[in-house]
């Protein structure tokens, strides 16, 4: 037989080495990836993130108490939902009692610098009690900080070219060494496979464990982009193509209301930067801005005037809203 001779093996040694690396990476990462039985039919995945704490995606957790978790060694443990953040689709669970040694290992994390377009990556999931499973692909795009449809702040946009199979959400994206790059999620951008990077997961886990929710800065206004008339722009010294955002609603007793912002005002600058889209203002409202002052430049009645707003904190959403979309 010509095939499985030693010569054949040597002739594809580079591929063989790659294949062995991939299998080893799955094995290593698989020791930190658990199955979470918190919805009907197919269970979803989770990552053993820190002592006693498992991270998962919120949309795959449909019950809050007495959640069964299958550990990498095949044994089962019980856990409770600590909190969830629908904005980033992350949830934090805690084991009722510490898992026995060797049953599950803490995830070894790669630094976020390791995220590079074109890197070969594996999605590692455990969609049930049958063992670990995987898919192979590459990081297809990396972008800046972005906001999800439900308002969560994610440190980097990481799009994947790989399959997130049923039950893979909440599992780990790993590099070729089996180090975790983030949490895989298919529910944040219409089924597009994305990775929530470690930095975001760590920040949200800290917030959920210490405060019970993720702080979200807000002003209490609804806005839409507008173009200033040429005459107005020129009179205010803003040029003939000045833009801003028109305030179309002010929530009563909100930070914007208390600062005296009115419907019809046009915000042309915030925090010293010119503003052309509502997103430009949203970008200035990170969680760290709660309680800080934001300097606005507003056009009202044809005159430009400064306005100071004390950035507020949005009240944590109700249970139903926190839960986010079911899918």
């Amino acid at each position: 037989m010509p095939s499985a001779s030693p010569g054949t093996r040597a002739s594809n040694s580079a591929l063989r080495a790659l294949s062995d690396d991939l299998a080893a990476a799955v094995e290593r990462a698989g020791r930190s990836v658990v199955a979470i039985h918190a919805r009907p039919r197919i269970p979803a995945s989770g990552i053993y993130w820190r002592d006693g704490v498992v991270v998962a995606t919120s949309h795959t957790i449909r019950k809050e108490q007495d959640i069964a978790i299958t550990l990498p060694d095949g044994t089962r443990a019980q856990a409770q939902l600590v909190e969830r953040d629908g904005g980033t689709d992350l949830a934090v669970l805690r084991f009722d009692s510490a898992p026995s040694t060797g049953a599950v290992s803490l995830a070894a994390r790669a630094s976020d610098d390791a995220l590079r377009v074109g890197s070969l990556v594996l999605a590692v999931g455990r969609p049930g009690s049958e063992g670990v499973s995987t898919s192979l692909g590459v990081i297809s795009a990396i972008g800046d900080k972005w906001r999800t449809w439900s308002g969560g702040e994610i440190d980097r946009f990481v799009r994947l070219d790989l399959s997130i199979y049923d039950g893979f959400s909440g599992g780990a994206l790993v590099d070729a060494d089996g180090n975790v790059l983030g949490v895989n999620c298919s529910a944040l951008a219409r089924g597009t496979p994305l990775c929530i990077p470690n930095a975001t997961v760590e920040r949200v886990v800290n917030a959920l464990l210490t405060r019970g929710h993720v702080a979200r800065a807000y002003l209490g206004v609804a806005m839409q982009p507008v173009r200033l008339t040429r005459a107005l722009g020129e009179r205010l010294g803003l040029g003939d193509a000045a833009r801003g955002v028109l305030v179309v609603m002010v929530e009563s007793d909100s930070p914007a209301d208390r600062a005296g912002l009115l419907v019809g005002d046009v915000i042309i600058a915030a925090g010293g930067k010119s503003v052309a889209e509502p997103q430009d203002i949203a970008a200035l409202l990170g969680a760290d801005r709660v309680g800080a002052e934001l300097e606005l430049s507003v056009v009202r009645g044809g005159e430009q005037r400064p306005l100071r707003v004390m950035v507020g904190e949005r009240a944590p959403a109700t249970d139903a809203r926190r839960r986010g979309r079911d899918s």
């Binding site: 040694s13 080495a17 991939l22 499973s133």
Partner: protein, 214 residues
């Protein structure tokens, strides 16, 4: 062991041989699998369907294994079998098992010097994440190679293999193989995006049962 993937980009430019080696090795693998993969034509009243088949050992029996759905009973018991080098012979369907989705075709005595059959591998020894390749004729494209990894460990001896690999109609009946070229399964369908294959030992069992009958 050095980690081929952990090499920084600069390492690849310093050693262009690494990615060239990948290409050459995959090409060699594709050539070897093409030699053991046939194209199967069945003629029905209205259309000409194409599937793949695998030259199955032992060589003396001149057997081709494919999926039962490639050679449906309604399409007759004589099918066209075309090898990679373009030879076409008419084979007879000797056994069909719709439950396991397997069929065996016997080639005529005068088929001449047929290529050697596949070397069988055992999927039960393959690790999750290991590279696997498939060969077939997806959408009629002859001898196409697909690249992927084993998705999950089979639950038990008889269960289907699941691979994270892109397959299409025309891959049915073709081989799923590991890097050493040994065939661990016969591709039979796509489910939720996963390539599904019948493990080689199940196929071999089917072939042996057929031998007992004939």
């Amino acid at each position: 062991m050095t980690n081929a993937l952990a090499l920084p980009a600069s390492a690849f430019s310093a050693h262009p041989a690494v990615h060239l080696a990948f290409a050459h090795e995959l090409e060699a693998l594709a050539m070897r699998l093409r030699d053991v993969t046939v194209r199967i034509h069945t003629r029905a009243a209205r259309y000409d369907a194409v599937g793949a088949g695998v030259l199955w050992p032992p060589r003396a029996r001149r057997l081709v294994v494919t999926n039962a759905h490639v050679v449906r009973a309604g399409r007759g018991d004589l099918v066209g079998v075309e090898t990679a080098d373009g030879r076409v012979v008419e084979g007879a369907v000797a056994a069909r098992d719709c439950e396991r989705d397997l069929a065996a075709i016997v080639l005529p005595e005068a088929a001449g010097d047929w290529p050697a059959p596949v070397v069988l591998g055992d999927a039960r020894g393959v690790r999750v994440g290991e590279i696997v390749v498939a060969l077939g004729h997806p959408m009629g494209v002859g001898g196409a190679l697909s690249f992927g990894v084993l998705h999950a460990k089979p639950n038990d001896d008889a269960s289907w293999l699941r691979a994270d690999i892109r397959l299409a109609p025309g891959n049915s009946g073709g081989p799923l193989a590991t890097l050493d070229g040994s065939v661990i399964g016969v591709n039979c369908m796509v489910a939720s995006g996963l390539g599904i294959a019948i493990p080689a030992h199940v196929v071999d069992e089917f072939v042996r049962e057929g031998a007992a009958v004939s």
